[in-house]
Amino acid sequence: MKILVCISNVPDTTTKIKFAEGNASIDTAGIQWVINPWDELSLTRALELKDDAANGVKSVTVVHVGPASAEPTIRKALAIGADDAIRVNAESSDSWFVAAQIAEVAKKEQFDIIMCGIESSDYNGSLVGGMISEFLGIPSVSAVSGIKIENGQPVITREIDGGKEIVTVPMPLVVVVQKGIAKEPRIAAMRGIMMARSKPVKLIEPAAVEALTQIVVFEKPAPRAACKYIDAENAGQLIELLQNEAKVI
C-alpha cells in the first residue's frame, strides 16, 4: 500500500498578517513558513500506519505544489519520516489549480490512500482534497478524525453532528482529515534530519491548468469595539449588559 500526503506551506500560525503594497498579497518579509498544521497531523498518522508492519504500508510520499522557496518545508516532512517527496514547480494560484496538479501526479503514481488536511491555515478553502478525488473519480471521505487498517482495508472515523460514524470505503480513496487524526505532530529527530538530506525530491513541471478564482484584494477584519470592563466584584453586572445592551441572552 502506498500513501500520498498533500502538504501546504503556510505562515506560522502565530504570524501577524500584513499586506504587501496594493493589498493583493501578503507581505512575506520575516515570515516563518511551516507545514500546514492539519497536513502535519495527517503525515504523522500516515507514518504511524507505516510503523505497524501488519498494515502493509510500503511508502509514504509527500507532495507539494509550490516554488523552490518551499524546499525547507518539504525537507522537514522528509525529516519527520516521509520516504520521498514530489514538488510541482508552480505558484499555487487557487484550490482548483493545486488539486488539478496533484491529481496529475496521482494518475501517474497510483497511490492507494491520498491524505489531505481539512483546510490550509492561509486560504481556509477546504477544497483541495475533495477536488482531487473528483478529478480522479475515486471516493472521498471528509471530516475524518481517525483511520486504521483492518485486513488490508481502511476503516475510517468521520465526524457528524453530535457524534461519529465509522465507515469503510474501498481504496483508492482520498481522506480529508481534521482534529483527532493524530494526537500530536511527530517531531523530526536529528537522525531524521540527517537522513532527509539524501531522500529524493522529484521535481515536476506543472500541467497547463487555469485557476478558476482569483484573490483581488485583502482587507483586515472590521475592528471590534473597545472592550468594556466590568469590575470583578460586581461581575453580575455583566449579565445585565448582555441582556439589555448586547441583547444576546
Binding site: N124, G130, G180, Q214, V217, I249
Partner: protein, 322 residues
C-alpha cells in the same frame, strides 16, 4: 436561470442554518433577478419542506431515495449536479459545514465551477462576480473573483441573518438516477451523543481554559452554560490535558465556531484560539491577566479569577431568569 441552495436536514428537520442558507440564496437571487430553488435530500415531510418557502425559496425539490440515506460524497455530488444542470443554476449555495465541505469541491470539478468558500457576505459585485471570504484563519478577509459561468458559494455558519420572505413555494418530488455501483461509503457504526447542545449549533458558548486550574472546577461553568442554554467548549491545553473531551476544543485545529455570544473563562486568547472563535458576534473575556490578548478581541471583559467570578454570574443569571 436560477440560484440553487442545498438544504441539509437532520432526522427530517431543518435547522436555523438551513434558513440562513435560503435567506442568503434569496439575497443572491434578488441581485441576479432570478429565483431560488432549494434542494433537499432525504425523508422530509411536506410541512417541513414548506418552511423553506418562508425565507424566499420559490420551488422546493425533494429527493427521497433510499440509496441516499448515507452521505456518500460521490452520490450526493451526482444528485445535486444533475439538478443544477436541469435547473440551469448559475449560483449554487451550500453550507461551509462538514457536509458542505464534502460536496462543494466535488461539485466544483463536476461542473467546472469556481468556488468561494467560507463566504460571509452577499456578493460584493456581479461583474466580475466577487465574494468576500475569510482567510488566514480570520486575520484577513479576501475579495475573490469567481471566473466561471457557474459559481459555487459555501456560506460560513451564522454569518447571515435569517430573513422572512414568505413565498408560496411549490414542492416537487424529483427522481435522480443513483448508480448503485457508485455508492462506496458503508457505515459500520454510529456513535451519537444525545441531549447535548451541539457546539457548532449553539447561539451561546461558555468556554474554559487553563485559568480554570483543574477539571474539578468545571461544574460551575457547566451550570452557567446550562442556565444560559449554552454549549460548553474549551481551549486546546484543556483538551490536551484530558480535562475535557477533544470534541470541545475550539481553535484553529479544533472546532471553528461563530456563536452570538462566546464567554471565555480563564482563556488567554492565543492566536490559534482566536482563529476558532473570532467570528463570534460578542466575546466576553474573564481572565486574571489584564494584558491577555483575549481582551483585545472581547467587547466585555472582567479582570479577575474565573473561579471567583463564575458564582456571581450564575447568581445573576438565576436572578434574571426568575
Amino acid at each position: 436561470m436560477s440560484v440553487l441552495v442545498y438544504t441539509e436536514n437532520w432526522d427530517g428537520k431543518f435547522k436555523k442554518l438551513s434558513f440562513e442558507l435560503v435567506s442568503y440564496a434569496a439575497g443572491v437571487a434578488k441581485m441576479l433577478g432570478t429565483d431560488v430553488i432549494a434542494v433537499s435530500i432525504g425523508k422530509v415531510e411536506d410541512t417541513e419542506l414548506k418552511k423553506l418557502g418562508n425565507y424566499g425559496a420559490k420551488k422546493i425539490l425533494s429527493v427521497d431515495n433510499d440509496k441516499l440515506i448515507t452521505l456518500d460524497n460521490q452520490a450526493y455530488t451526482s444528485a445535486i449536479s444533475e439538478i443544477a444542470q436541469t435547473e440551469n443554476s448559475r449560483v449554487i449555495i451550500i453550507s461551509n459545514n462538514n457536509t458542505g465541505k464534502s460536496i462543494a469541491p466535488r461539485l466544483s470539478v463536476r461542473l467546472k465551477a469556481g468556488v468561494g468558500s467560507g463566504v460571509s457576505k452577499l456578493p460584493l459585485n456581479l461583474i466580475p462576480f466577487t465574494v468576500y471570504k475569510r482567510t488566514y484563519s480570520g486575520n484577513a478577509y479576501a475579495h475573490v473573483v469567481i471566473k466561471t459561468d457557474v459559481k459555487i458559494i459555501t456560506l460560513a455558519q451564522n454569518s447571515f441573518d435569517v430573513i422572512d420572505t414568505p413565498n408560496n413555494a411549490v414542492i416537487e418530488k424529483v427522481n435522480v438516477s443513483v448508480d448503485g455501483s457508485l455508492l462506496k461509503t458503508f457505515v459500520k457504526d454510529v456513535q451519537k451523543q444525545t441531549g447535548k447542545i451541539l457546539l457548532t449549533d449553539a447561539d451561546i458558548v461558555v468556554s474554559g481554559g487553563r485559568g480554570m486550574k483543574s477539571p474539578d472546577n468545571w461544574p460551575a461553568l457547566v451550570e452557567l452554560a446550562s442556565l444560559l442554554g449554552a454549549a460548553t467548549a474549551c481551549s486546546r491545553p484543556v483538551s490536551d490535558e484530558g480535562w475535557r473531551s477533544h470534541d470541545e476544543h475550539t481553535g484553529q485545529t479544533g472546532k471553528i465556531i461563530a456563536p452570538n455570544l462566546y464567554i471565555a473563562l480563564g482563556i488567554s486568547g492565543a492566536t490559534q484560539h482566536l482563529a476558532g472563535i473570532s467570528s463570534s458576534k460578542y466575546i466576553v473575556a474573564i481572565n486574571t491577566d489584564k494584558d491577555a490578548p483575549i481582551f483585545e478581541a472581547a467587547q466585555y471583559g472582567i479582570v479577575g479569577d474565573a473561579m471567583k467570578v463564575l458564582p456571581k454570574l450564575v447568581a445573576a443569571v438565576k436572578e434574571i431568569r426568575k
